[in-house]
């Protein structure tokens, strides 16, 4: 019997379920019309976390070392930081 069949759930299935759960949380935040910087950064943080789960869990980058290990995470942090700054500044303008 392999390690896979001994597990109660495949790691990729667990990642999938977490992604679905986080997506539902994001949707509920939008559905309830929640506002404010805290909510905005919470939703943005969830998106970045989901992105990292895709990179590590689905794209298989957790098994990669060097540049490619961090390429997706760097992209996520870069985009997240710039978008976060823009939303933060716009809250001051509004």
């Amino acid at each position: 019997m392999t390690a896979d069949t001994q597990r109660w759930i495949r790691p990729c299935t667990l990642v999938y379920l977490v992604l679905v759960g986080l997506t539902l949380v994001t949707w509920v935040a939008g559905r309830l019309g929640l506002q404010g910087m805290g909510v905005t950064f919470f939703v943005l943080g969830l998106a970045l976390l989901k992105g990292q789960l895709i990179g590590d869990g689905f794209m298989g980058l957790r098994h990669v070392r060097g540049f490619w290990r961090w390429a997706i995470l760097t992209w996520l942090v870069g985009v997240g930081a710039l978008v976060g700054v823009a939303f933060f500044l716009s809250s001051g303008l509004h």
């Binding site: 392999t2 390690a3 896979d4 069949t5 001994q6 495949r10 790691p11 990729c12 299935t13 990642v15 999938y16 992604l19 679905v20 997506t23 539902l24 994001t26 949707w27 935040a29 939008g30 559905r31 506002q35 905005t40 939703v43 943005l44 969830l46 998106a47 970045l48 989901k50 992105g51 895709i54 990179g55 869990g57 689905f58 794209m59 298989g60 980058l61 098994h63 990669v64 070392r65 060097g66 490619w68 390429a71 997706i72 992209w75 996520l76 870069g78 985009v79 710039l82 978008v83 823009a86 939303f87 500044l89 716009s90 303008l93 509004h94």
Partner: protein
């Protein structure tokens, strides 16, 4: 990719560590280029919104968040099916790989159907690229992503057909890994696009 050089974790058929990601390195360079373009789109959206906060919030409220949720779940599910397809071919289960790829294709087509319905609704209400700055970003960003989903579905269809013809096995399946990586990129981009355009205000 030198799959044979990788050390494999017993049972999972996944490599312990490797220097390069799964699939063809050229596809990964293409993926990085695509991600750079989408990053520019996302950042441009966020900084343009700074000048039009009220307008963006007003017209964001006209979007169908339920459809966006279904689309997000469709893409995530497709990605999961693709992961299972790659795992199947790595384990030499060719028929299983083919079935997972067809299932992923179905989810991709579901995304295209839902998004097309959304576009038809907006166009029916007279929404155009020139309507206002928010809709210009909404239509161009989501349609650019829509085109990527179409390409991804075509890739999955071709892979499913080739797997069915016995073109890949447990030792030779770099094309399947490359196609899978591209599909995950399409999913990854939507996971940022969904909250940014539909939720954050």
């Amino acid at each position: 990719m030198l799959v044979g050089e990788r050390s494999m974790t017993r049972g999972s058929n996944l490599p312990d560590t490797t220097r390069y990601p799964p699939g063809d390195l050229a596809v990964w360079i293409f993926i990085l280029a695509e991600l750079a373009v989408f990053a520019i789109f996302f950042v441009a959206y966020a900084f343009t919104r700074m000048q039009h906060v009220v307008l963006f919030d007003q017209y964001q409220a006209t979007l169908d968040r339920n459809a966006a949720l279904l689309n997000t779940l469709a893409l995530i599910t497709a990605s999961y099916f693709v992961v299972r397809a790659v795992a199947a071919i790595r384990e030499g289960r060719v028929e299983g790989c083919r079935r997972w790829l067809w299932a992923a294709t179905g989810m991709g087509l579901l995304f295209l159907l839902i998004k097309s319905t959304e576009y038809a609704h907006h166009l029916g209400e007279g929404v155009r690229l020139s309507s206002n700055t928010f809709y210009m970003f909404y239509l161009s960003l989501t349609f650019f992503h829509f085109m990527h989903v179409i390409l991804g579905v075509i890739v999955l269809l071709v892979l499913a057909a080739r797997v069915g013809r016995g073109c890949y096995d447990a030792r030779d399946h770099a094309d399947v890994e490359s196609g899978a990586s591209y599909w995950h990129m399409v999913d990854l981009v939507w996971l940022i696009l969904f909250p940014l355009v539909y939720v954050m205000h």
